[in-house]
C-alpha cells in the first residue's frame, strides 16, 4: 500500500508542478498547433487518403511527444531535485509515478490532436470504426509513454539532451509507430474491429516488453 500511495503522491506532485511551471504543457500545445497548421497549409484543398492522414496524425503525436515527454526527468535533473526524489522514493515508485504521469500527458495530447484534426480535416478525417480508433489511441499512448519514460531517464543523465531524445526514440518507437498508423488507417477506412486484432496484439506485446524491460533497467539508470 505504501508504494501505491507514494506513486500517487508523486503523480500528484508532478501534475501540480506541471500546472505551475508549464514545463511540458506549453511546448506540447505550441507544437500541436504549429504542426497541424503546417499540414493544413501544405494540403490546401487536397483530399489525402486515410493512410496518409493516419500517418500524419501519428507524426504530429510522435514529434509533439518527443518535445514534451523528456521534461519529466530533465526538469528534475536541471533543478537539482533528482537527489531529493532518490532520498524519498524507491526507484520503482519513481519509475511508475513518472510513467503514469507521461501516460496522462500523452492521452491528453492525443485527445487534443484528435479534436484539432476533426475540426481542421472535418471532411477527410472521419473515424468510421470508433472502437478500433479508441483502442489504438489508448494502447498507442501507453506504448509511447512507456518508451518515452525510460528514454527520458537515460537522456536526463546525458550532456546533449535536446538532440539525443528524438535520435534515441525513433528506432525504439518505429514498431509502435508503424502499428498505430496501420490500425488508425483501418479505423478511418471503416474496417471491422476484428481486422485490427493483430495490431492490438503487437501493441500489447510492445507495451509489456517495454514496461518490463524499463522496470528492470531503471534502477541502474536512476542511481549512478
Amino acid at each position: 500500500m505504501s508504494a501505491l500511495s507514494s506513486t500517487y503522491a508523486l503523480i500528484r506532485k508532478d501534475i501540480q508542478s506541471e500546472l505551475r511551471t508549464r514545463y511540458a504543457l506549453n511546448a506540447l500545445l505550441m507544437f500541436v498547433v504549429t504542426t497541424v497548421a503546417t499540414i493544413l497549409f501544405a494540403l490546401r484543398s487536397d483530399q489525402p487518403t486515410p493512410t496518409v492522414l493516419s500517418g500524419m496524425y501519428w507524426v504530429v503525436i510522435f514529434f509533439t511527444a518527443m518535445s514534451g515527454l523528456s521534461r519529466i526527468f530533465v526538469s528534475e535533473e536541471e533543478r537539482g531535485t533528482t537527489m531529493t526524489l532518490q532520498l524519498v522514493a524507491s526507484p520503482s515508485v519513481v519509475y511508475f509515478g513518472k510513467l503514469l504521469f507521461n501516460v496522462v500527458l500523452t492521452l491528453s495530447l492525443t485527445v487534443a490532436v484528435t479534436l484539432l484534426y476533426m475540426i481542421v480535416f472535418s471532411t477527410s478525417f472521419t473515424i468510421q470504426t470508433p472502437s478500433i480508433f479508441i483502442v489504438t489511441v489508448l494502447l498507442g499512448s501507453l506504448g509511447f509513454a512507456s518508451a518515452a519514460t525510460i528514454i527520458a531517464a537515460i537522456v536526463a543523465k546525458a550532456n546533449t539532451r535536446g538532440t539525443l531524445y528524438p535520435v534515441l526514440s525513433f528506432p525504439v518507437l518505429i514498431v509502435l509507430l508503424m502499428t498505430v498508423m496501420a490500425a488508425t488507417a483501418k479505423a478511418l477506412d471503416g474496417e471491422p474491429f476484428e481486422a485490427a486484432l493483430g495490431d492490438f496484439q503487437i501493441l500489447l506485446g510492445y507495451i509489456l516488453a517495454m514496461t518490463g524491460g524499463s522496470y528492470l533497467l531503471f534502477d541502474y539508470v536512476w542511481k549512478d
Binding site: 505504501s2 508504494a3 500511495s5 507514494s6 503522491a9 508523486l10 500528484r12 506532485k13 501540480q16 508542478s17 505551475r20 511551471t21 533543478r79 537539482g80 531535485t81 537527489m83 531529493t84 526524489l85 532518490q86 532520498l87 524519498v88 522514493a89 524507491s90 526507484p91 515508485v93 542511481k223 549512478d224
Partner: protein, 216 residues
C-alpha cells in the same frame, strides 16, 4: 527514535579509472558522531552520497541495521536525513508544500501538519511557510533543507557543509540540531571547517592511510 547502526567496510569509488578513495571502513551506532574531513576533491560528498544510497560504491559495502535487523539501503533511507548543497527542494512550491509533498511521497505515517509546524518553527521559517521557495534567500533554502531532513525524525542525520549560507542564528540552530541528534541517533558531518568537525567525537580524514575513523 529507532535504534540504528551503520557499518562501512572497505568501500572504494572509482570514476573514469581514477580512484576517489579506497579502503574506507568505519562503524557507527546510536549516540556516535563522525566528522568526514579532507581537502577539496578528496571525496567527502561522494562518500556522503554512497552513505545515502544514491551512489553505488565500486568496492565494499554499506550495511545499515535498524532495530537490530540488517536492512537494504532503500529501506534505511526512511531513517536518513540529509542536508547538502546538491540537495534541492522544489522552487514552484511553498516551504510547507515541499514538506507535505515529500512526506507523502515518502509515505510517512505521522501527522504531517504537526511535524511540519515543529520543523518550520525550529528552523525559523514558520512565518514564510506559504511563500514559494523561489522567493527564499540561499540561507532560507538551507534552513528549509534542515526542516526537510528532520521532518521524519531520522535515526541517521548526514550533514554536508552544514552551515553554508547560514547566518549566526542559523549556525546556532544547526549546533542545537546536532547536539539533539547525538543524544540518541547518529550524526555524520562532512566539512572543511575545523570548528564544525569538532562537533563530532570521531574523525575520518580522507586521504590518510588507513582510512578508518579515529577517536579525538
Amino acid at each position: 527514535m529507532i535504534d540504528a547502526s551503520v557499518t562501512v567496510a572497505g568501500i572504494a569509488k572509482v570514476f573514469s579509472r581514477r580512484a576517489i578513495f579506497r579502503g574506507i571502513s568505519f562503524s557507527l551506532k546510536g549516540g556516535d558522531s563522525l566528522a568526514i574531513t579532507g581537502r577539496n576533491g578528496s571525496g567527502k560528498s561522494t562518500l556522503v552520497k554512497i552513505l545515502c544510497g544514491v551512489l553505488t560504491p565500486t568496492e565494499g559495502t554499506v550495511q545499515y541495521t535498524l532495530a537490530g535487523r540488517n536492512v537494504p539501503i532503500d529501506v534505511a533511507k526512511d531513517q536518513l536525513g540529509l542536508v547538502s548543497p546538491y540537495l534541492q527542494l522544489y522552487d514552484e512550491f511553498s516551504g510547507l508544500e515541499n514538506l507535505e509533498l515529500l512526506s507523502r511521497i515518502r509515505s510517512n505515517n505521522f501527522p504531517i501538519d504537526e511535524r511540519a509546524t515543529d520543523a518550520l518553527n525550529l528552523v525559523g521559517l514558520w512565518d514564510r511557510r506559504k511563500d514559494m521557495v523561489r522567493t527564499y534567500s540561499s540561507g532560507m533554502k538551507q534552513r528549509l533543507k534542515y526542516a526537510f531532513a528532520l521532518l521524519h525524525r531520522p535515526a541517521v542525520l548526514i550533514l554536508d557543509e552544514p552551515t553554508s549560507n547560514l547566518d549566526a542564528e542559523g549556525v546556532d540552530v544547526v549546533k542545537r540540531v546536532v547536539e539533539a541528534q547525538k543524544s540518541s541517533g547518529i550524526v555524520i558531518v562532512a566539512t572543511n571547517d575545523a570548528l564544525e568537525a569538532r562537533w563530532c567525537a570521531e574523525e575520518l580524514h580522507l586521504g590518510d592511510q588507513p582510512q578508518t575513523a579515529m577517536k579525538r
